[in-house]
Subunit: 130 residues, 2 copies
């Protein structure tokens, strides 16, 4: 299967697939004309990475997950640990964003938002009322 087909089946742009090959996440064989030729397993790996990335796993985590997937003797505990660590980092990010949201929405509320220059948002960023 050519890269265009692999792209539409996996939901990844062709550019991204080439990049994934560059960094060793997939290794499709080459046809006689030099075109990449993706097997079903290659396609599985691409779709797998696509889903893992959409859950926020980093490339290195995806690599680890793929190798766990390939290892038929893995312990599910290893996978779960990886996933739990990532879940914790997601939750940390959410908390950080919620802190920003709270502070920022307070500032936005205070700002009258008309054509006068007086602005509590800029004042807040300038360190007033900290």
């Amino acid at each position: 299967m050519n890269i265009g087909e692999a792209a539409s089946q996996s939901g990844l742009p062709a550019k991204t697939i080439r990049y994934y090959e560059d960094i060793g996440l997939v290794a499709p064989r080459r046809a006689a004309n030099g075109y990449r030729d993706f097997s079903d397993m290659d396609l599985h790996n691409l779709a797998f990475v696509q889903r893992a990335r959409s859950l926020g796993f980093s490339i290195e985590e995806c690599r680890a997950l793929l190798s766990l997937y390939d290892d038929r003797d893995r312990a599910s505990a290893d996978v779960k640990e990886l996933a739990k660590a990532h879940l914790a980092s997601i939750e940390e990010k959410i908390l950080g964003l919620q802190t920003m949201q709270k502070t920022l929405s307070e500032l936005v509320c205070k700002c009258h938002g008309d054509d006068r220059p007086d602005c509590p948002i800029l004042d807040g960023l300038s360190g007033e009322g900290v």
Copy 2:
């Protein structure tokens, strides 16, 4: 004031301050020996950017905020608009992360996490049960 002092007063690493000068966020004058010499206004701008960054504003948004700050004739509506747009993007990110969190925590819950290879997390990433 030297860069070390500016760094500790603003809460930014010296490296970051040099970078901010590179991209034109601050323009400290130079002492005779070539050292950067930060004025109070420079320091204000650095601390301002530090706070804006900690609220998740991009560098370009910081630049815009700084120029609004400098413009004594600005309308507070302009600032508020910028802040509201950023707030919306924060909320969007939170929603995205919460979606990831939900999906991932469901997978984690399903995984028994022992020494057997059977793993619903890997199955989920492989597209089973989608």
